[in-house]
Each structure stands twice: as C-alpha cells, then as structure tokens.
C-alpha cells in the first residue's frame, strides 16, 4: 500500500514535467555549476549559492508546470499592469545603482521590476491575441505593438538595454507567431535600417562607446574595450580542446571581468575549447528544438504563441550573450541561460521552461 502511495506521489510529481526539457536543462545546469566553480574558486566561491539558486529555479519550474495554460492566461493582464506600474515607480522613485535606475527599494530589499516583464509581456500579448483570435484584424497588431512599446521604452530609459532587448524580443516573437503580416515585417526591417543613424544619436555615451569598441577594441583598453579584448583572448587561446577545467590562465589571473556572471562563457570557452562550445551550442539547439516542437503541437493560439515566444527568448539570451563574449555583438547585460551566476535570471528562465512543460503536458487534457 505504501508502495502504491509512493507511486501515486511520484506520478503527481512528474505528471506535468517534460522529460527531454528536464534532461537538457539539467545538463545545462551541471555544465553551469562546474563553470561557476572554476570562475570563482580562487576568490569567493559561489558554488553553494548557485546550487541553491538552481534548487529554487527547479521548484519554480515545477510550480509553473502545474498551472494549466488556461489558468496561466489569467495572469497576463494583472502581471502586465503591475509590472508597468512598478516600472513607472522605478522611473520616479527608483534607486540608482551604477548610474542606472533599475531598482525599487521595498524597505528590506530591492527588486528589479524589469525582470517580471520578461514573462509578463509575452503572457499579456499572448492573452491579447487569444482573446481576439476569431476577429484578428490589423489594428490588433497595432494595439499589441503599443502594449509592447510601453514597457520596452520604460526599461530602455532606465537605461538597461540588455533587458529591454530581451523584453522587446519576447514580445515581438508573440506578435510574429500570432501572424504579423510579412509586409509589415519587411517594412519594420526597412524602417529599422533607415532609423539606425537616428538611433545612434539616442544612445547614451557609454552605449555608443561599446559599439565603437566592437569595431576597434584597442581604442579604449582600460574602459569598454577591455571586456572584449580579454574575452576574445580567453576564447582564442582556448583552442580546439581548451586548457582544461580550472586551468584557464585568463580566468585565474583575473583578466576576465564579470567572469562568473555575464562573461562566464569566456571562462567555459577558454577551458573547454571549440569542442566544448559546440557541445554547449548543441544543448541550446536541442532546448530550442524541443520548445518549437511543443509550440507546433500546442492546441490553442495562446499556448502556441506563448511557447514559440519563450523558446525564441532562450535563443535570444544565448545568441546575444555568446555573440557579445566572442566579440561580434556589443556588450549588453544579458546572462547566459542556466550558466551565468545569479538567482533572478535563473528563476525567470526556469519559469519559462516550466510554462513550456505545462503547455506540453496539458495539451492532452484540452484535447479530451
């Protein structure tokens, strides 16, 4: 009888999990832990802290997976409204850290509301399209554009270009999957290209510097160029097979800045080489492939566009981060999913995976 209870408990536990997703995420987390260990063991070890973060992340994933998409949809509007209000509060009362107003002080601690928007924006837009599914007109795409632009601008103004790009991308993917006409996409592309010189003037000095240093990192070797110079040296010297775990000289002589957070890929790459990189890219590719399969087989518009958006968001994180570290994209604050140290991003990403699992496992129920 106790075996029966255990069996039922186990079933309850795994019922809404997706094997392939769990496997890939787990593999990424393990790789991430070993890399965080290497990046931090000679200063202040973050292994235990990161393990705790991952435990919290997995719990959040499990909880997210239990919530059926129909229920999840209801969170769209309130989360979005709360998120935007918090962003406005940040704009007015926010705490400045390192020159950017991103944090809101709530007495004992500080919160970063823009993180919430990474989930709230796609949720809101997916709900919005789902609601208008039967009568989807062009004006609904315009409306969705406005809903996306408000938080995007507020976050970009903080300034936090990295998060703005992530939120903007997540929202755009929803609009894209909801069927944004190709003519509009082409038009946006042309508009973006022609607005580039104008956008240049809108950027902050330090952001401009980061783009300029991409072209010539040596122009500012103590400032913005330093990150790129050091991370490309780390990668390049790693070669095909890497210098071996804990053996990276760039890492351990402390040449790589932010080596356990945004630049952790440089550490991984130096120690594991091109083969390691290929393996990591493969893991991300598998994750994205699984996500797209889930999206393609989802049963409602909401579930489809939500799954599509989350999946492509993982791609955005990985691509922007690895592109930045390898010196083909400017330096923006985007972590590498499940690799970079830090609890907030880990929980957000885990919730994303949880939602994908929920969409996958609640599909049958809806079909019945």
């Amino acid at each position: 009888m106790s075996e029966d209870v255990l069996h039922r408990l186990w079933r309850r536990l795994v019922e809404h999990l997706d094997g392939p997703l769990l496997l890939i995420t787990g593999a990424l987390m393990l790789v991430g832990l070993t890399t965080v260990y290497s990046a931090t063991y000679d200063a202040s070890n973050r292994l235990i802290a990161q393990s705790l973060n991952m435990t919290v992340g997995l719990a959040a994933m499990w909880i997210a997976a239990q919530i059926p998409p129909q229920k999840l949809m209801r969170f769209g509007v309130p989360l979005y409204v709360i998120g935007v209000i918090l962003l406005i509060l940040v704009f007015v009362f926010g705490v400045k850290v390192n020159g950017a107003r991103r944090w809101l002080s709530i007495g004992f601690t500080r919160v970063q509301p823009s993180e919430l928007l990474k989930i709230a924006v796609p949720l809101m837009l997916a709900w919005y399209f789902h609601k208008h599914e039967a009568v989807l007109k062009f004006r609904h795409f315009v409306g969705a554009g406005v809903l996306l632009l408000v938080p995007f601008v507020l976050i970009a103004k903080q300034p936090d270009l990295g998060t703005a790009i992530l939120v903007g991308a997540a929202g755009f993917y929803v609009i894209f999957f909801a069927g944004l006409p190709w003519q509009v996409i082409a038009g946006l592309g042309v508009a973006a290209a022609s607005a580039a010189p104008f956008a240049w003037t809108m950027l902050r000095d330090y952001q401009r510097k980061r783009i300029l240093t991409l072209i010539d990192p040596t122009s500012d070797p103590l400032g913005a160029g330093y990150h790129i110079i050091q991370s490309t040296i780390a990668m390049g010297s790693g070669g095909t097979f890497g210098k071996g775990w804990l053996e990276g000289t760039q890492t351990h002589l402390e040449f790589i800045p932010e080596r356990h957070t945004d630049f952790i890929f440089a550490v991984f790459s130096e120690e594991r080489g091109l083969l390691g990189n290929a393996f990591l890219v493969l893991l991300y590719l598998l994750l994205i492939a699984r996500g797209l399969v889930i999206a393609a087989n989802a049963s409602t518009l909401f579930a489809r566009v939500m799954a599509g958006s989350i999946t492509l968001s993982f791609f955005t994180y990985a691509f922007v981060n690895m592109g930045m570290v390898s010196g083909i994209l400017p330096v923006v604050g985007v972590p590498l999913p499940f690799m970079s140290y830090g609890g907030t991003a880990l929980v957000t990403l885990s919730i994303g995976i949880g939602i994908l699992m929920s969409i996958r496992t609640h599909r049958m129920l809806v079909r019945k």
């Binding site: 400045k96 390192n98 020159g99 599914e133 993917y173 894209f176 999957f177 069927g179 902050r204 000095d205 330090y206 510097k209 500012d220 070797p221 103590l222 400032g223 913005a224 330093y226 050091q230 490309t232 040296i233 780390a234 990668m235 390049g236 010297s237 790693g238 070669g239 095909t240 000289t249 760039q250 002589l253 402390e254 790459s269 080489g273 091109l274 990189n277 290929a278 890219v281 991300y284 590719l285 994205i288 492939a289 797209l292 393609a296 049963s299 409602t300 518009l301 489809r304 599509g308 492509l312 791609f315 691509f319 690895m322 592109g323 390898s326 010196g327 083909i328 809806v366 079909r367 019945k368």
Partner: protein, 631 residues
C-alpha cells in the same frame, strides 16, 4: 470546453501558417548558431596561435596612472590649491589574514596613532576590500626605510608614493575653493553618469565642494596607464611601457585672495558673509562665509573628532552662508524698491510724502524707526535716511505682484548661476509663492497687509548674500547683469592654451538712465550725509551704499533694545555698496549675523574692503599682524 472547441474549429490553414513560421524560426536559429560556431572556429582554430601569444603576453597587466590634479590660483597668481608627493603606508584588506594583528605589528615598526586607526576603520567601512587603504600618511624617510627593512613581515602592506592636495592658505576662501576627499559610492555613480569610469580608475579623490567640485572634470586630468609584466601570482615584476597621464587643467580665479583674506579677518569671530563682484564682468572678487574651516582636514579622510567639531558647532562653519544662507535684506531692499517705483511710474523722484512716523493699514500700525517721523520725505531722502513709512506706502501702492515681477528681473529669489554647486534660491514672496509654500488653504491666501512689510525688506523676503551682491552690481552697472563666476580662465595643461570664462551678460534691463542715476545719487548720499556717514568718513573715493538691519525676532510692541535681547535673536546687520560711484569697480553685499545695526557693524567691513581694493590700504589690525609676521 469552449477553448477546446475553438481550437478544433480553428481552420487548419491557420495552424499550417503557424507551423510554417515555427519552421522558419528553427531555420533562423540554426543559421545564427552556425554563425556563432563560425566565429568560434575563427577565434579558436584559425587565430588560435595569435591568441595563445596574446594570452601569454597577458602576463601584462594595465595599471592606471592617476594624473596630477590641476592647480588653482587667484587672479594674481597666488596658489590656493596645489599637490605634493608623499609616502603613505597602505593595507589591502583582502590580502591580509588578520587585520588587527597586522596593524598591531605595524605599530611596533612605525608610529601608528589611535586617530590613524580610527580613520582607517572609517575608510574600511566605506570601501571595497580589494582597494588599498592608507593606515598612515606622510611617512618620513626614516619611517619608509624602517618599514622597508621589515616588509617581509607584512604581506598585503605597501609603501606608496602618492600625490596629496594641499591648500596653502588653510581656511582662507575655503567655501569658494572647496576641498577634495575620497571617492564614495555617490561619486562613483556621478562619474559613471558622465562616462568617466575608465578615466577615474585608480583615482581616489574627487572634489566635494566649491571650485574643486564644480570644475572636477577640468581639474582631474586624463589617466595614463602602465603596462606591467606580472608573474603567475599576479604580482608586478617590471614595467614594459607607459602612456603618461595628462595633468589636470589649471584654474585661475577672479578671486583676489588678499582681498578675501582681509575681509575674513575684519569679520573676526562674527558669523556672516560677504560677496564682492566686479560689476562689469560678474567676476567674484571675494566670497566670504564666516566662520570658515580648514579644507586640509578633509584630504586624507577627516578624523571623526574634527568632523564632529565642525558639524556640531553652533556657528555652522560648513554652511556656505554666501550661497546657502537666506536672509531678509532689511533696508538694503529700499534702493531696489525705489527703482521699481520709478520704472513702474508709481513715483517720481520729487514726489514727497509726509511721514508722521507710522503707516496705518487695516487696523494695524506699521511704525517707522524714527519716532515722530522724518517729516516731508522725497525719494532721495527716503534712501539717505532710510525712511520706512515712504516704503510702506510705496509697497501698498505698487501691490505685491508688481513688486515681485520687478525684483525677479534683478535675480532675487533665483539661483544666480554662479559656477558653484548647490546654490539656494531664497524666497521672493508673491501670492504664487505662498500658494506653493503652504498646504492649508487658509495659509495660502496672500493678505494685503503682508505686502506692507515686504516694502522695507522684511516679511517673507529671504535672499542669499550673493543675490544681494548681484542686484547691487546690476544697479552699479546700469542694468546689465553678468553671470557671477569664480573662474577667470582655464589653462590647458598640454597646450598652455587659456580658455577664458567670458563675461556672460545674463540680461540687459531696459532701465531709464535718469532713474538709475537718481538711485545712485541717493546711495552716495547714504555715505555722505546719511546712515553710512560715519563708516565712510574721510574715504578717498566716492562710495554708494545702503545700510540695512534685518529683524530676526519680531517684538510685539515694545522697543528693540539690542542689549536686552539674546545674541542669537539680535538683528542681522547688512550693507550693500559699490565704488567708485561714477565708475564702479567693485560691488558688494555684507551680512553680519546678529550684528545689530547695519551702519555699525556691516558698513565698516565694506569700508575696509574698499580701502584695500581701491587704494591698497590695509586695515589697522591686519597691517600690524603682517608686520609682526615679518619680524
């Protein structure tokens, strides 16, 4: 159920379209990742050799070299702020196992006072542990040698040669020059906001107040860097190449520090402020706020007992009264009121009133200084003898809106735009101001009776001494207002090129020349046969001025007797003046807190400042002291 149906009924075409987009996204992802892998291949296989060499070369670390800060001199070249090099003993807390034991041990080798420990602990709280922090500054050669011999005992402790800021004149002009101190978190944010983070790597000090603060980025210079070879442990072995830092730009002030020194001396231990301006340029000749403080105390991190003494003193030496003290102008307001009357056409110079010694309004009696009144009073007499009744009636005739509008053009109640940070606005009273200032509706209403005392510079009037000096300078300069500034020119340390801070005319007030002349004549009268006569007896030049006494404490009924009132409740003494009257070279405002009558305590200060500036004459006390020093 409804959802299920919707999805079942959804046209297959729709789903096909979606799946097409998903497939497309998949292709794009693969392409993007292929691009990344190509980049990795390029870096890690094609350029592997190159980067391996770079990594090996990367035993080379870039060490920032802090530039030497610009020097500040006054208009005659007297040095006000300079740098000198000295040895400091520094500890890097993150490299030390037992901080207490290390400090204890150091104390056996060289002298470490309890105050040094206290300061070190304070710095420790404010900084990151990997920064190296001074435990002792200004080591003697002998102490350096003694530590060097025992160095092996103290890992994580080093002797460093550093540049220190020094203010040779100590407390003189400290409110204008300001001081530098260690960079804190707020400063770091400011540096980051200005995109200067790289330039401040290695910098430890930043201007906190005064010129040192407002011209920080001119004074700082550009950091250089040294390529240093490091061993596997990260320690520097030898220097390979050096990009020298660029020294900060030097500043030459409009300030005449001798004048400043004399002004500060004649204040003695009285609290107050004096601002002297060159009317034709806006250049500040003296910016006094007493008591002052010694800026040298702040440079290495101020000791806590010094800080407490400065902070807790009832005289508030850290307060820059010239810019941040707001005081009612008292009767020094009258010349401006008279000018307003002429310009708005409310009075002509010859128009006289009969002064019975009081003005009745709304059942309240506003009294004049002089019992029984001044008799028949025209505009000239009203200024020369400072007749209150004339201005009670004038204020009543003009109305508050008209007064506020005119006074705003003179810069009252606004920042003057001086090149220092944190200037106060003061209060230019008006019904709009009252509405903003008070919350409760019954307090927000402006009463006509409140206008009456505005006319004699009392009531809600509150202006900073620099506003008063500026308004005086504008009258002296016939309505042309120049932005007050302390820096005359900036000398580029590389090219030697001088960037002048050009006199910047803020506004040109379209006053009728005859109106201005009337006021100036009356202000000259003040010093020849009016309230300022005694202070200016026998002056070798013609000075125009106006005395003022501002009430701190309102005595309901009863006469004001200075001796009967506690010192902090005594009236403030004020004086505004410019000289020579026909071709003004200097305009000033003097304020002595709780000094009593302006004619008695403020006007003599102005006289001594003018005597020195125009005639080169030193006041008695100061001259004697100077001779004593020479002995």
């Amino acid at each position: 159920m409804a959802l299920a149906q919707a999805s079942l009924n959804a046209p297959d075409r729709e789903l096909e379209r979606f799946r097409f987009r998903v497939a497309l996204a998949g292709v794009a992802v693969v392409a993007a990742f292929a691009l990344l892998l190509a980049r990795f291949f390029h870096l890690q296989v094609v350029q592997h050799e190159y980067y391996t060499t770079r990594a090996e070369d990367n035993r080379i670390s870039l060490v920032p070299i802090v530039p030497s800060r610009g020097v500040i001199v006054d208009r005659r070249g007297t040095v006000l702020a300079r740098n000198y090099s000295a040895y400091t003993l520094e500890i890097t807390p993150s490299k030390v196992d037992d901080l207490e034991a290390t400090i204890e041990g150091l104390g056996r080798v060289i002298d470490v006072q309890p105050k040094d420990r206290k300061r070190f602990r304070k710095l420790l709280e404010e900084s990151k542990t990997f920064e190296s922090l001074p435990i002792r500054t200004r080591l003697s050669e002998e102490e350096v040698a003694r530590f060097a011999a025992n160095r092996y005992l103290f890992p994580g402790v080093e002797v460093k040669a550093r540049l220190f800021r020094h203010y040779p004149l100590g407390p003189v002009a400290s409110h204008a020059i300001g001081y530098i101190s260690r960079i804190n978190k707020r400063d770091l944010e400011m540096i980051d906001d200005n995109g200067q983070t790289a330039n401040y790597k290695g910098s430890e000090h930043i201007g906190k107040t005064g010129i040192e603060q407002s011209y920080e980025f001119d004074l700082h210079g550009e950091a250089g860097y040294e390529q240093v070879e490091i061993d596997a442990g990260g320690r520097a072995i030898r220097s390979l190449a050096r990009t020298p830092p660029v020294q900060g730009n030097n500043l030459t002030l409009t300030l005449d520090v001798k004048l400043q020194e004399i002004a500060e001396k004649v204040f003695g231990d009285r609290r107050g402020a004096l601002v002297a301006i060159e009317p034709s340029t806006g250049g500040i000749l003296a910016l006094v706020s007493t008591p002052t403080f010694d800026p040298n105390l702040f440079v290495d991190g101020i000791r806590s007992d010094d800080w407490d003494a400065l902070n807790n003193s009832p005289d508030k030496p850290m307060l820059n009264r010239a810019l941040n003290g707001a005081y009612p102008p008292g009767s020094t307001f009258k010349p401006f009121m008279a000018l307003a009357a002429l310009e708005t056409g409310k009075r002509t110079p010859g128009q006289a009133i009969s002064d019975p010694g009081y003005f009745n309004f709304g059942g309240h009696q506003f009294r004049d200084d002089k019992k029984g009144g001044h008799g028949s009073v025209d505009m000239h007499k009203s200024i020369v003898h400072s007749c209150d009744t004339y201005y009670y009636t004038l204020a009543n005739d003009m109305g508050i809106d008209s007064i506020a509008r005119f006074m705003a053009t003179l810069g009252f109640g606004q920042e003057t735009g001086i090149d220092l940070e944190g200037e106060s606005e003061g209060v230019l009273p008006s019904p709009e101001w009252k509405k903003r200032r008070f919350k409760r509706p019954e307090q927000q209403k402006w009463f006509a009776g409140e206008t009456i005392s505005i006319g004699i510079g009392q009531g809600y009037n509150a202006y900073t001494p620099i506003q008063l000096a500026l308004a005086t300078a504008v009258v002296a300069n016939n309505g042309i207002m120049f932005r007050p500034h302390l820096v005359k020119y900036i000398t580029d340390s590389r090219t030697g090129e001088k960037t002048m801070i050009e006199p910047e005319p803020l506004r040109v007030l379209p006053w009728k020349q005859s109106h201005v002349e009337t006021i100036k004549r009356a202000m000259v009268g003040v010093n020849t046969h009016g309230t300022g006569t005694r202070a200016f007896a026998g002056a070798g030049y013609v000075a125009a001025g106006k005395t003022g006494t501002a009430q701190v404490f309102s005595l309901k009924g009863g006469d004001y007797k200075a001796s009967r009132v506690k010192k902090e409740l005594r009236d403030h003494a004020l004086y505004i003046a410019f000289a020579p009257a026909d071709k003004p070279q200097i305009a000033l405002a003097v304020l002595v807190e709780n000094g009593g009558f302006g004619a008695q305590s403020a006007a003599p200060i102005a006289r001594m400042v003018f005597d020195y500036y125009l005639l080169g004459k030193l006041p008695k006390g100061v001259a004697e002291e100077d001779e004593a020093e020479e002995d």
